[in-house]
């Protein structure tokens, strides 16, 4: 088992990336609000985890030519194609098609190998949100007032990618692990042939078999596994896409660059993300980084860090503004016997992919 884990910081100097809309609980129904959550007496802006995932998918589509799984509507639900062989996003982002067709259960589910938190503001509302009072006045008659919120803050997010799960499709009869339909799912008549009314299912199974031959998939009793070259490519591109992340609401008005300005990356042989703690926090209106806490945490986890190497990517201007001292960070981490690789965000990501992700598939 191996996981690529990371943390990103997105600089949002003036943004409204994920809106709540009009808040009906307020007396003033003319305010478009940003999403916030409450902690103690404070509120913090945030971006939904689904929104982040959507940006991630779109970025893979735009920068790495991923053909995204199309959506289908059947009766009352909408599904993706649930074809992780053909559609890489079904592979990496998972799916659930809980459905019966003609009385036959064709439920397939896949737990997403890629998991991510929401993007949460480091600064609370009082030092990040502004109310913009605008007027629409290009029409005839009186100008119409409207209010909208936006924020200036740094958003932090964390993710984990299960490298072993990418390109590995289990067909075990267990919720979350039945990724594909098999011939066992097809009701048979007395002569052992698929019953009438099962044409669509058998078509789907045949198509999967056809693709699997084309791709050279190894078909076992419990799982189908893509060739390592393809798994490597899918995992590598998923991580590389972080660098080009684009999307978010209100781009016309705020033009926010959502490419991360700071990333921490490492591989770990356990299903935990060591960056989920208060490494980045607010201290009297400033965004601080607690290297000491990170070093202690990584020292604690030494047994499950295969390379004991941390990749730190940062934008010089960004950390200069925050007043972070890279040399001191490096020193503290090295004292904890963690090797640190510093570079720009792009360099850190490329290096991490090359040194930690690609070799994993070459060796396994």
């Amino acid at each position: 088992m191996r996981f690529a884990v990371g943390m990103v910081l997105i600089d949002a100097p003036h943004s409204a990336l994920n809106m709540l809309g009009i808040d009906d609980s307020l007396p003033d129904r003319n305010v478009t609000r940003v999403k916030t959550l409450r902690r103690g007496g404070y509120r913090y802006p945030y971006v939904s985890p689904q929104a982040w995932r959507y940006w991630w998918r779109k970025t893979l589509n735009e920068h790495f030519d991923w053909e995204l799984s199309p959506l289908f509507r059947e009766e009352k639900q909408v599904f993706t194609a649930a074809n992780p062989l053909k559609y890489k996003d079904d592979d990496v982002f998972g799916y659930m098609r809980a459905f019966k067709r003609g009385g036959i259960n064709i439920t397939v589910t896949r737990i997403s190998p890629l998991k991510n938190t929401p993007l949460i503001s480091v600064l609370p509302e009082r030092s990040s949100i502004t109310m913009d009072e605008g007027y629409a006045s290009r029409h005839e008659g009186d100008p119409t007032p409207y209010n909208q919120e936006f924020y200036s803050t740094v958003l932090k997010g964390a993710f984990s990618l299960d490298l072993e799960a990418v390109g590995r499709f289990t067909i075990i009869g267990k919720a979350g692990f039945k990724n594909l339909l098999t011939w066992n799912d097809v009701p048979k008549d007395k002569s052992g042939k698929p019953k009438k009314g099962t044409e669509e299912i058998t078509k789907e199974i045949r198509e999967m078999e056809h693709i699997s031959e084309e791709f050279g998939i190894v078909r076992g009793e419990k799982e189908w596994v893509l060739p390592n070259e393809l798994r490597k490519k899918r995992s590598a591109e998923t991580i590389k896409a972080i660098r080009y992340l684009s999307g978010g609401a209100k781009q016309t008005q705020f033009h926010t660059d959502i490419t991360p300005k700071f990333v921490l990356l490492m591989s770990i042989d356990a299903g935990i993300n060591p960056f989920i703690s208060d490494i980045v926090f607010e201290d009297r209106g400033e965004v601080k980084f607690d290297t000491e806490a990170l070093a202690n945490r990584l020292a604690d986890l030494k047994d499950i860090l295969p390379t004991k190497k941390l990749y730190v990517g940062c934008d010089d201007g960004f950390i200069r503004n925050l007043g972070w001292d890279v040399n001191k960070m490096s020193e503290t981490l090295q004292n904890a016997e963690i090797e640190v690789e510093f570079g720009s965000v792009g360099e850190a990501i490329e290096k991490f992919v090359k040194e930690e992700i690609e070799p994993y598939y070459d060796e396994s």
Partner: protein, 206 residues
């Protein structure tokens, strides 16, 4: 026994009686969520009814409401639901000693609810509970304990041999949110001396 402390930025536990519209979260995880966490750590389905005992305490320091686009029943267009989630969450699990190895190296990603609720293991330590009078909160207890609170039928464990999964054991519980000031009544119970809280040890094996 040992105590595992998990931390997550966010957590969410589906409120069983709400099917559509506003989706509140339970203030503490139901046993089935613990089943999921233990299964993810071990790498195979764990049945709580096979554990000699299990205790847990959950607390969170915040709340948010998210908007989520859904494809609602019987409507051609998409709809938006409001979904509550908890912020800054901690879960303490009280388990037999052999669980140490699974939590040192969890096989799958640990989650406090949905796939966005990524968790990390903050601490694993041996702990000795002390029998004394304490308050209990941040957990669920059986109705028979006689503590007043909201009663809910919660799934203890799911049967994962079918797709989709099916509830295998459902029991009524009293839900006790983590709120130290709210509970005055003390009961004789094994107590975590560090948290100064009673730990109800569930035994579903019998």
């Amino acid at each position: 026994m040992m105590r595992v402390k998990l931390k997550a930025w966010t957590a969410s536990f589906r409120y069983p009686t709400f099917q559509s519209g506003y989706q509140p979260t339970l203030p503490v995880p139901p046993p089935s969520t613990i089943q999921g966490i233990l299964s993810a750590a071990k790498g195979e389905t764990v049945y709580l009814s096979e554990l000699p005992f299990l205790g847990y305490i959950f607390k969170s320091n915040g709340l948010g409401v998210d908007l989520e686009r859904i494809y609602a029943l019987g409507k051609p267009e998409t709809d938006i639901v409001k979904r509550e989630f908890l912020y800054d969450a901690e879960l303490f699990l009280y388990l037999p000693d052999e669980w140490t190895e699974f939590f040192k190296k969890p096989r799958y990603q640990l989650l406090l609810g949905r796939s966005s609720d990524l968790a990390t293991v903050d601490e694993i330590k041996r702990i000795k509970l002390e029998e004394r009078e304490s308050i209990i909160c941040g957990t669920v207890v059986p109705v028979s304990l006689g503590i007043p609170g909201i009663v809910h039928a919660l799934v203890v464990e799911y049967d994962y041999t079918t797709t989709p999964r099916r509830a295998r054991l459902v029991r009524p519980f009293i839900i006790l949110p983590y709120d130290r000031g709210r509970y005055k009544e003390k009961v004789q119970i094994p107590t975590d001396p560090e948290l100064e809280l009673g730990v109800y040890l569930h035994r579903w094996s019998g």
